[in-house]
């Protein structure tokens, strides 16, 4: 029989029941979704990396490694496998597309998986194994002929297979591009034989290594066998690995912060709701007890109510979570534009199930505590209706101000303090709503400002020309003159065991500009270097300090004075040619920036990249981000609506008798409605006042946690605040309106009968 009562109770409090289920579902959904996301990323990239032999270390020498060098490295104790490796950008004949031509001498290291077509043949003289994504977007098929142009050398072959590669898991042909764009660029593998035939000689500027040795140990051993210090890149310094880990960390952050917010509000609301239901049913609880039901039976009855909420919320939440994870993690979803993975399975981390169990345990415990409180005492005591906490005089009542308040204000103030938990919950609901809207729109503002300043404005050129490795500075300068450009010389250096980039810029035309932490442009100086924010933070450096760096391949180090700190995506030290000369640093020009639109083919030019294509690569990225922001804002508004409605109904029911009395005495519906709305409004305004700074704080943490590698500057437009405030106020007013409409239905006669 009690089970039947359980269903009826559920039906009776359906508004609370449904809203609690939705709240928990939202919290669980966000929790499951983001945690599945990062865990699936890690599992799936791990699969891609092991299947294609993703390398742990990359030794880099622009002059190339010989077979002898390779044998020395393979011979190192602790090196499992190695391969000589080349990865170079080539042009597609009669097209502006870029193909990264890749060759590995050992297909088990930095190799690929054939998705479609023939398996790899290391002796093939004309086989091209092409990225399947690129092939699909450019309508290429197995068996088609394809011609690539490297400098002036044409390399023609037949597409043998369509592939995916761990090395190109996140395929970005050039550092200045942010997102993969398989319409305009892709990668292809050819055999070492074919490469040698095309070039006429062997050229492998990298040795890729799979090894369990740590970086220091491997570096020492490699330098010893090669007889010189060589640039060593770990997998953390590759885009595919570090960006994938970055995505995973974003998922971890989101999966940790957002669910806490949602679930905290859900559990707190649960406490108020369960308390409210058990107090409302106190007489019934007493009746059951008086009839001879054991305490534990009654407890079981009400805790199973809480359990029902928990279970249904969790089930629905797991569904939402799967949906969310799938939305982000599918080949055509948000991550699909980023990762090129052979496998897109969804995995749930084990601790996720544990947390879900815990959440349900907490909910049941909340139910248990509320009913236990009501059951205390003899049946006779329990039968008496619940008396809310005694009203105390507030401190403010002693001031003169108090007498000036209208009675409605006094009533509301006392009510807020009398039902502290309900008021606090309302405050939390509003706070969560403001926080989420401000943080998500703020994220958009920040990204928009970032792209506008760092790309639209700081990039002042039409084309960036990459100069071939083998070119001299004079040849490069000739090209620079030809296109009336600015130039840069970028190379890797070591600072305190970390690989950074030293960039010498000659910016007569200001084609490239530098941005500080206030999003203002700063000029280069001939008296010292600019370092980026991350270097400054990591090494505790500030303006006026000195920084020492040492280039690879030579045993010499340079010390430079820091004259400024800039925000930059590349972790770099920036200087003028004049300053480079002053400290005696030798540079090699490798990029030319020009306003010219058409760049003729030249043996000195390796590739070009236009500003339009850089900006275009943001489109998908922004698209994905906008979708996420809208999802978050919808969640925020939903959260606000549910919490406020639930509490509004509760407040209404708790004050039903008082409202009825007011009505009897002669207050009009509108006057009563106004009192109800004004209480809600105060709490909303308070919530907004607290919520905005908290939202900004959370956004700050998010930006630091999610995008430190972009060195973004927090920007919040007035529209964000306005939208955040208006949306929250709107939600609150809508709820107040819905609730205050109910007071028309107050049955004065009925309400006056009961005992207070």
């Amino acid at each position: 029989m009690l089970t039947r009562k359980l269903w009826r109770t559920m039906w009776q409090y359906r508004a609370q029941f449904i809203s609690m289920v939705i709240m928990i579902a939202l919290g669980v959904g966000v929790f499951v979704g983001f945690n599945m996301e990062w865990y699936s990323i890690e599992k799936n990239i791990d699969y891609a990396f092991t299947q294609t032999g993703f390398a742990d270390y990359r030794l880099v020498n622009k002059a190339g490694f010989s077979l002898d060098d390779y044998n020395q490295i393979v011979g190192i104790d602790g090196v499992e496998k190695a391969a000589r490796y080349l990865s170079v950008n080539t042009a597609v004949k009669d097209s502006s597309n870029v193909i990264t031509l890749t060759v590995t001498t050992n297909p088990e290291v930095s190799g690929f998986m054939v998705i479609n077509g023939n398996t790899y043949n290391p002796d093939s003289t004309n086989g091209i194994w092409l990225s399947d994504q690129y092939a699909e977007r450019n309508h290429l098929h197995v068996g088609d002929d394809y011609t690539l142009v490297y400098q002036t050398i044409e390399i023609t072959g037949k597409i043998e297979g369509l592939i995916k590669s761990g090395e190109c898991l996140i395929y970005i042909p050039d550092e200045s591009q942010v997102m993969p764009d398989f319409k305009t660029s892709g990668f292809a593998y050819v055999s070492p034989v074919m490469l040698k035939n095309a070039l006429g000689y062997e050229y492998y500027p990298q040795i890729n290594v799979i090894s369990n040795l740590d970086k220091k140990e491997f570096s020492e051993k490699a330098n010893a066998v090669l007889g010189k210090t060589t640039l060593l890149l770990t997998k953390d310094e590759t885009i595919s690995y570090s960006e994938a880990m970055g995505e995973s960390n974003e998922g971890k952050t989101m999966g940790a912060i957002l669910p806490v917010l949602f679930l905290a509000i859900a559990i707190l609301t649960m406490i108020t709701t369960m308390h409210r239901i058990t107090t409302n049913e106190k007489t019934q609880i007493g009746t059951l007890k008086a009839l001879g039901f054991k305490d534990c039976t009654i407890k079981l009855h009400y805790t199973s109510y809480a359990l029902m909420i928990g279970l249904m919320g969790s089930l629905l939440g797991i569904g939402i979570g799967y949906g969310l994870a799938y939305y982000i993690m599918n080949p055509h979803g948000a991550m699909g534009t980023y990762f090129d993975m052979p496998q897109w399975n969804l995995y749930m981390p084990c601790f996720g199930w544990v947390v879900l169990l815990l959440i349900n345990a907490v909910l049941v415990f909340v139910g248990y505590l509320s009913v236990r409180k009501m059951l205390r005492g003899t049946p006779c005591e329990v039968l008496r209706p619940y008396v809310p906490t005694k009203i105390k005089n507030l401190k403010i009542e002693k001031t003169k101000l108090w007498n000036r308040f209208s009675f409605g204000t006094k009533w509301n103030l006392r009510d807020i303090f009398r039902h502290k938990s309900r008021s606090l919950m309302t405050l939390f609901g509003v706070l969560g709503c403001v926080l989420l809207t401000v943080a998500s729109f703020g994220m958009k503002d920040t990204m928009d400002a970032f792209i506008d300043v760092f790309y639209n404005q700081a990039i002042n050129y039409e084309n960036a020309i990459n100069i071939a490795e083998t070119t001299t500075n004079d040849q490069a300068l000739a090209i620079c003159d030809l296109y009336q450009g600015d130039w840069a010389a970028k190379s890797s250096v070591q600072v305190n065991d970390k690989t950074l980039s030293v960039e010498v810029y000659y910016v007569e035309h200001n084609y490239v500009r530098f941005v500080d932490s206030h999003l203002k442009f700063i000029e280069l100086s001939d008296d010292g270097v600019l370092i980026c924010q991350r270097i400054a933070d990591d090494n505790h450096l500030c303006v006026g300090d000195e920084i020492t760096f040492s280039p690879y391949g030579i045993n010499q180090s340079y010390t430079a004075t820091i004259v400024g700190i800039n925000n930059s995506m590349s972790e770099s030290i920036v200087m003028t040619p004049a300053y480079a000369n002053r400290i005696g640093y030798n540079y090699k020009i490798n990029t030319i920036y020009t306003k010219a639109k058409d760049i003729a083919q030249d043996s000195v030019i390796a590739s070009t990249l236009s500003k339009t294509s850089i900006l275009k690569s943001f489109d998908t990225f922004m698209d994905v981000m906008n979708k996420m922001i809208y999802l978050l804002v919808i969640a925020a508004v939903l959260l606000g609506l549910i919490v406020l409605y639930n509490l509004g109904v509760m407040s209404y029911v708790e004050r039903y008798r008082e409202l009825a009395t007011l009505k009897v005495v002669g207050f009009k519906d509108k006057q009563i409605g106004k009192i109800l709305i004004s209480q809600n409004l105060w709490l909303t305004v308070l919530g907004i006042i607290v919520g905005i700074p908290v939202g900004v704080g959370v956004l700050n943490i998010l930006i630091k946690a999610l995008a430190s590698e972009y060195e973004m500057v927090l920007v919040l437009g007035p529209v964000t605040f306005i939208v955040g405030i208006v949306a929250t106020l709107g939600v609150s007013l809508l709820v107040s309106f819905l609730i205050s409409r109910k007071n028309r239905k107050i049955d004065m006669v009925e309400a006056l009968k009961g005992v207070e």
Partner: protein
């Protein structure tokens, strides 16, 4: 002069599938300044009568003329104004606002009735001068009922409606409350209508209206009503 006139008033409640006739074609006239007791067993329709007079509910048919106006046709807002201006209520369970102090409970009337009487003066009269700043839960039942009498009078209404005003009190306190109610009504020249099933209260009334099965059985004027002290409680 008649302050209240009921003509052919019926009230039908829809309770599930059957109709319940709470009042059936009731006619009643009440003169101003009289002390009227409506007597009847529970379920007779006396509370319905009081609710209709108080503008808490509207009749299914008939006219209710109070102070020259037919309130049967009033809208919800007009009824609210009527309740604010013309009638004061005293309930069995006091119905004070628990989050307002004694003083505030009476003073709140000022917000809806501009010519409300002074709350402090009224509270002094009902003998609660020392309890202004207490909350209702801190008072005894009798004291709470005094507050509600003060609140009913604060509007300076034509009619005071009381629904079993002594029902929740012990007899001693009940007598005190009745005394107060009557003396206040006399002082301010109010019409008092009390609904009760207590025969003793009826002995004090100017007019006794007996209600049974939704109809008025008798209306008796008592030429010499007893005083509170004369009644054998």
């Amino acid at each position: 002069m008649n302050i209240v006139e009921l003509k052919n008033v019926s009230k039908v409640y829809q309770s599930g599938e059957h109709e319940v006739k709470a009042l059936n074609d009731v006619n009643l006239e009440i003169e101003q300044g009289k002390f009227v007791v409506i007597l009847g067993p529970s379920g007779a329709g006396k509370s319905t009568l009081l609710n209709l007079l108080g503008g808490l509910d509207s009749p299914s048919s008939g006219t209710i003329i109070v102070d020259g106006k037919d309130i049967a046709t009033y809208s919800a807002d007009e009824l609210a104004e009527y309740r604010a201006d013309k009638v004061g209520f005293v309930f069995q369970f006091y119905n004070l606002v628990p989050t307002l102090t004694v003083y505030e409970n009476v003073a709140l009337i000022k917000e809806i009735a501009p010519d409300a009487l002074d709350a402090k003066e009224l509270l002094n009269k009902v003998g609660l001068a020392d309890h202004y700043n207490k909350f209702p839960v801190q008072l005894s039942g009798g004291e709470q009922q005094r507050v509600s009498i003060a609140r009913a009078l604060a509007k300076n209404p034509e009619v005071i409606l009381c629904d079993e005003p002594t029902g929740a009190l012990d007899s001693e306190t009940g007598v005190m409350i009745l005394k107060l109610l009557l003396s206040m009504a006399r002082d301010y020249n109010k019409t008092i209508i009390i609904v009760t099933h207590n025969q003793n209260i009826a002995k004090m009334a100017d007019v006794v209206v007996k209600v049974k099965n939704g109809q008025i059985v008798s209306v008796d004027e008592q030429k010499k009503p007893l005083t509170v002290d004369e009644v054998d409680w």
